[in-house]
Symmetry: C2
Subunit: 167 residues, 2 copies
Amino acid sequence: MASPAASRVAIFILRVLTFILLLISLIVLTTSATTGEVGIDQTIRIHFNDINAYRYMLAAIVIGFAYSLLQLAFSTCHLISGNRLISGDGGILVDFYSEKVISYLLATGAAAGFGVTKDMKDYFEANNWFFGTFYEKVYASASMLFLAFVCSAVLSVLYSYQLPKKV
Amino acid sequence: MASPAASRVAIFILRVLTFILLLISLIVLTTSATTGEVGIDQTIRIHFNDINAYRYMLAAIVIGFAYSLLQLAFSTCHLISGNRLISGDGGILVDFYSEKVISYLLATGAAAGFGVTKDMKDYFEANNWFFGTFYEKVYASASMLFLAFVCSAVLSVLYSYQLPKKV
């Protein structure tokens, strides 16, 4: 069952967008390390790796990125040849379930990132500890991850409409 | 378009489960306030309301709970009479999109809760601050919220199969 050309193009554009957003998110998060002031003449270096929630965020970005790259390759084939790699209902089911799982993964990654950053920033600022642009970088990365989740959620909706009716 | 009886019963059971899980999650989170030791003879009282991520978690639980209660009422009508409140494709579309949004909301609420609790617990324990069962209570609440999300995600998949094919 091949989907109409318009849907194939929409899927391809959303795939490219997700891929670019996750790439930016990955670069921003991994380069967010900053040296901060925690007292008079005292500095410590903060790295995203020090915080569990950011490690989960990184895992979500990396898994999403790898999946996105793979699906982008399949989408390109689909767009050019008009045929899916896995033909019939099987391919649609794989796309539907994998996109659903990935969209939840990206959403939870962004939520963990935003949640921890907000509370950590408030706590550190109340203690007069300053970490410069660290939070802004993590916020930027989480925002890109959130936008990638939105693309993934739209893709998930598009795939839902292609599902065979069984229930 | 009425769905078969088996699907109606499955939806009803998942609705009841989501409702119960969210109710437990709400009770556990709102009663999690604990007095903790932060130094020799020094204690402070910690409340879920003090942490932004937990307030978001509460919002997710309350919205999910209200939605769940409403849908439970509709599901009961659907189960007894066999007719949806909004008949035709409109009702299915409303159920599909609302369930999708609610499932993302519950997932992000649980992620924010788990993320902040893990990092806060590590940080406080490294400083020898002890808050007794506070974390366990929040973990329990986040776990219930996560299980409610799983029910909601399954409901979302069930509704996806009922969608009219348009793409």
